[in-house]
């Protein structure tokens, strides 16, 4: 294994970063490293983020790796685990790093000295302060946003401007974009194109090309517009 790892790392390092040759060599190296036993594992809440960042770091820095123990593999694992454990700590600490004392003296808007505790909003207070307005608005919007899917469905179902129902193959007025959108996109599970074509007595090809050429652009426009509104 030592020889294989050495060979893979040498290969990665003989190409510039980024280059397709290096990226392919990294693919092979990462596949082997991920299978090594001894990579630190943990149930820590930040472990997966730390591991993700570790693979990025390994990919970037592997050419700086120096063997320190007789076993190449052992040495590599120690090197990787060192970074991984350090990342977990690093990700976990920001919360505590910014803990500040409520009794810390600060200046209020008028320039008078007070403490942080004094200017923090009172939890019991029913009235909303300017400081909390952002959070409040975000909460209201969250409730609104949860209905986005519903509102888009309604919009398509109602099709008030008649744009979707007006678009159909010339000889098949019933095969319009509104029906296709309902059956192929909105209904779960979605219908199959072949089944729908049989039901509407229209060829697969006609239905599919109408769908792609005319319906998808219309629906894209609707989706895009819903994305802008807040």
């Amino acid at each position: 294994m030592d020889e294989q790892l050495k060979k893979l790392i040498t290969e990665v390092c003989c190409y510039p970063d980024p280059s397709p040759e290096r990226q392919k060599a990294l693919n092979r190296l990462l596949m082997v490293i991920q299978q090594l036993s001894g990579i630190y594992q943990s149930g820590h809440q930040d472990y997966l983020e730390a591991l993700n960042q570790t693979w990025e770091w390994v990919s970037r820095k592997v050419c700086e790796f120096e063997v320190r123990s007789p076993s190449f593999q052992q040495s590599l694992i120690i090197w990787i685990n060192g970074y991984l454990k350090w990342r977990i700590k690093d990700l976990y600490t920001p919360d505590s790093k910014y803990t500040i004392s409520l009794d810390r003296p600060i200046r209020n808007y008028e320039g008078d000295e007070t403490t942080l505790l004094n200017i923090l909003p009172d939890r019991q207070s029913p009235s909303i302060t300017l400081d909390l307005l952002d959070i409040k608005i975000a909460q209201i919007q969250e409730v609104e946003r949860q209905c986005l899917g519903d509102r888009i469905r309604q919009y398509i179902e109602q099709d008030e401007e008649g744009k979707l129902t007006a678009s159909h193959p010339r000889k098949n007025p019933e095969c319009h974009c509104q029906l296709l959108a309902m059956r192929l996109l909105l209904q779960q599970p979605a219908h199959k194109i072949a089944d729908l074509a049989r039901e509407l007595n229209i060829s697969n090809q006609t239905l599919y090309s109408h769908w792609k050429k005319n319906c998808l652009p219309l629906l894209r426009e609707i989706g895009t517009n819903f994305g802008y509104e807040q």
Partner: protein, 304 residues
């Protein structure tokens, strides 16, 4: 005797950190049914995972520029696209335990460079990257990709690399140009010819030009005109550079199709002012242009 080889040595595992789940939760909460919510949740995780993997390899991605990150579009369509700036869009399809094939959604737009299979397991802590399939030419019905037929991730890297070398005419339409392709006014200003004789500008066409050095300089002008359908009309013109009046005699302009076959060519006679080739291309079609002067030649590759 049995060996203790890893079961699947060709598969990369990508962690799904809290951050990925936060996005997935937020996006899923906006949907109108649990099924749609689940689809959005998994699509979001799949896109995030491929984004992470490409970050390891130092490939640039723009996570929030895809339809999958657009609140209106992901609510309507089944999308799991990831934008690779200057390269194109990758579709990252979730594969659930037991599935042997990926059914591409009927609403998929034909602008993908390819598809990555993303294997989920019961525990949503990691996914496995199954492999890659390059985009298939437009067909009459939605495509099904067999997992067993996916190519390795090396094929993905190859395609990304090839596409960074291509001149992307599709991006010209959105106002993104490669730096050596300049507005014709600029390129021709330093030359003898008056611009008005060169471009009949129309609202739906875009022109760019580039100086090409073959020992003697020539100017290559590409004019792209959008039509009503998905087809673009392309006009290539070669003008003399170096303030010359005529093109060098025997200068050749050749267009190759995707498979490398010559599809058209033209050769300058002794006193030609310019020469041109005109043709049409579909979306995603590739072509290359070769300009030959004696022993010297230069190739430019394009994708529409």
């Amino acid at each position: 005797m049995t060996t203790t080889q890893p079961a699947q040595p060709d598969i990369l595992s990508v962690p799904l950190p809290k951050n990925a789940h936060r996005w997935a939760e937020e996006f899923a909460a906006q949907q109108d049914s649990p099924q749609k919510g689940k689809q959005v949740y998994l699509n979001t995780l799949a896109v995030y995972a491929v984004h992470s993997y490409l970050k390891w390899l130092n490939v640039e991605t723009a996570l929030n520029q895809g339809d999958s990150w657009h609140r209106g579009l992901r609510a309507i369509f089944d999308v799991a696209d990831l934008v690779l700036p200057g390269v194109g869009k990758l579709e990252c399809r979730p594969v659930l335990p037991g599935e042997v094939a990926i059914v591409l959604p009927a609403s998929m737009t034909p602008d993908r460079i390819g598809y990555v299979g993303v294997q989920f397991s019961q525990q949503l802590d990691y996914i496995e990257l199954l492999g890659f399939a390059p985009a298939i030419a437009m067909t009459e019905s939605p495509q099904i990709l067999q997992i067993a037929q996916l190519q390795s991730l090396d094929a993905l890297i190859e395609i990304i690399h090839k596409r960074t070398l291509l001149i992307n005419l599709r991006q010209w339409v959105t106002g993104i140009f490669e730096p050596d392709w300049q507005p014709p006014e600029l390129v021709f200003a330093s030359n003898f010819r008056r611009i008005s004789t060169i471009t009949r500008s129309s609202t739906n066409s875009i022109s760019r030009a580039k100086v090409i050095d073959l020992g003697r300089q020539v100017l290559l002008l590409v004019q792209l005109t959008a039509t009503n359908s998905e087809v673009f009309d392309i006009r290539l013109r070669v003008y003399p550079g170096d303030n010359a009046i005529h093109l060098p005699a025997n200068l050749q302009l050749i267009v190759f199709d995707e498979t490398g076959n010559t599809s058209m060519e033209v050769q300058a006679r002794s006193a030609d002012d310019w020469m041109q080739l005109e043709f049409s291309c579909q979306h995603e079609e590739k072509f290359s242009v070769k300009i030959v002067l004696g022993e010297t030649s230069l190739i430019e590759e394009f994708v529409v």
